[in-house]
Amino acid sequence: MRQSKVFELIKLKFPQVSEEDLTKAVIVPQELLPAVANYLKGQDLSFDNLHCITAVDRLERIELVYIFYSFKNRQQAIVKVYLPIDAAEVESLTKFYRSADWFEREVYDLFGVKFLNHPNLARILNPQDWKGYPLRKNYTNPNLIRKP
């Protein structure tokens, strides 16, 4: 089963999803993410493994990238969620995948994306009192040295 097949199956169930031109990733509206994750984990597709969560700062929006894997079908699926940069909030996937716990904390720590209903959304790599979100493109810190 190819990524395009996964997209078609998700599209059938959730008509609001779309496909990214360049990467063929499935773009899911932020309010639909838990439902799509539940469907991915379910019997039809059996994506039992959430391999990785990361984010990309595209200046006007933050792209969340979820990489799912199915050991049964030997198949990978990349799901993206576009979030507005000033209100970066999305439902946590910890109730479906326990690997999401630390992945989401890392994205929160470095990008400032708030994961709603996460059991312990605290910074994980930076100190708890750290200011700002280091991997955002507009991040500045007085200790940063400008490149000559």
Binding site: L22, H51, C52, V56, V65, F71, S99, W102, I124, L125
Partner: protein, 370 residues
């Protein structure tokens, strides 16, 4: 009164950040009821060097030495996963000889890394110094080979986008063959020392059991996943380089306890030797590197590539905007997920086993904190 009904006041024990058995700067906040662990809160980040932010200000080639410092006991595998990810982004094919060289050095490094894992694991269980020193003696041989190949002992910086830094030096195949001949009986020595040692069995059997479902749900990869009974190895299931040309088995465990994790690593030692032997025999005489240019400018796009490092699946997610620097580079480190499961594993075990379970997971803080 039965012992299990007795409870004492909850005790908080700080393990780390500076502790000889945490394999780096890791801080475990242990909550104990007598000898039993009630909860374990893991604090990481003491080695955070913001590699991903640094990558955004470096060219693709300049970032290779940084990958050495991720998993610093298996630098070759980190180099390899990174350059393969960039090559996938560039759609660049490397010469056949480079692929063979990469396989040889990656597998040698896997042996060195597993030796360290086994040695420190035995040390964590209280087998003071002997197994560790034996393992280090053999690891030293691998490091000497690497010293000859690329001039460095630990941070190799050997892989290049388009091939490797130098071709293999003259006479190294003889040396690697000698090492294989030397290493095989040594594995039997370890088996004699540890595998069926009653004390070792007592400490490792049926402790720290990681079930198949939990392992997959926590996104555990590598030997830890295979020890839980999932037959999954990227070298076999999504072959890269020339791994599909070699014959080797994927060792798996049954119960997913500490002993199985040790067993899988021991078996992987001999499988790696087998791969190296075949690679040395089949290596073609040809040019080892193609010129990819000093300034690499991939077309705008995104790529995710993962490779089997000794600790699990090391993935690189690279976003390119068409310039000389990556727009975003995410490192998906295997130890990060492997450590996340620790809290689950240590609940209800005795405090002395925490160190053993941690050692059996074979984590490395360099790639967790990045």
């Amino acid at each position: 009164m039965k012992m299990s009904n007795m409870h004492s006041e909850q005790l908080c024990v700080n393990m780390g950040p500076q502790h000889p058995s945490t394999h780096g700067v890791l801080y475990l906040d242990l909550r104990l009821d007598g000898e039993e662990v009630v909860d374990c809160i893991t604090h990481i980040g003491y080695l955070h060097r913001s590699m991903e932010k640094i990558a955004e200000n470096r060219t693709y080639t300049q970032f290779i030495p940084f990958t050495d410092r991720l998993d610093y006991v298996a630098s070759m595998n980190n180099n390899l996963a990174y350059v393969l990810a960039v090559e996938k982004l560039l759609n660049l094919d490397v010469p056949e000889r480079a692929k063979y060289i990469r396989v040889i050095v990656a597998e040698l490094n896997r042996i060195a890394s597993h030796l360290l894992a086994i040695g420190t694991f035995a040390q964590d269980l209280g087998a003071f110094a002997t197994p560790l020193f034996y393992c280090f003696r053999e690891r030293e041989k691998v490091i000497e080979i690497f010293d000859e190949v690329c001039g460095n002992r630990l941070t190799y910086n050997y892989m290049r986008i388009g091939g490797v830094q130098f071709d293999l030096p003259e006479g190294i195949d003889r040396r690697i063959k000698d090492f294989i001949k030397y290493m095989r009986p040594k594995i039997n020595d370890y088996e004699g020392l540890l595998t069926n040692n009653p004390i070792f069995l007592e400490r490792t059997k049926n402790i720290g059991i990681l079930s198949k479902e939990t392992a997959i749900n926590y996104s555990i990869t590598g030997p830890n996943l295979r020890a839980s009974g999932v037959q999954w190895d990227l070298r076999k299931d999504e072959p890269y380089l020339v791994y599909d040309k070699f014959e080797f088995a994927i060792p798996t465990g049954k119960n997913g306890d500490m002993w199985d994790r040790y067993r899988v690593r021991m078996d992987e030692l001999s499988q790696s030797l087998k791969i190296i032997e075949q690679a040395i025999a089949g290596i073609p005489e040809a040019q080892a590197t193609v010129k990819a240019g000093r300034m690499i400018k991939p077309a705008a796009g995104e790529v995710y590539f993962r490779a089997e490092s000794p600790r699990g699946e090391l993935g690189f997610y690279i976003v390119s905007d068409g310039s000389v620097n990556p727009y975003r580079l995410k490192i998906r480190a295997p130890s990060f997920s492997n450590l996340a499961v620790l809290r689950e594993l240590v609940k209800g075990v005795k405090v002395a086993d925490v160190v053993g379970i941690l050692g059996s997971l074979d984590i490395l803080m360099g790639e967790i904190d990045r």
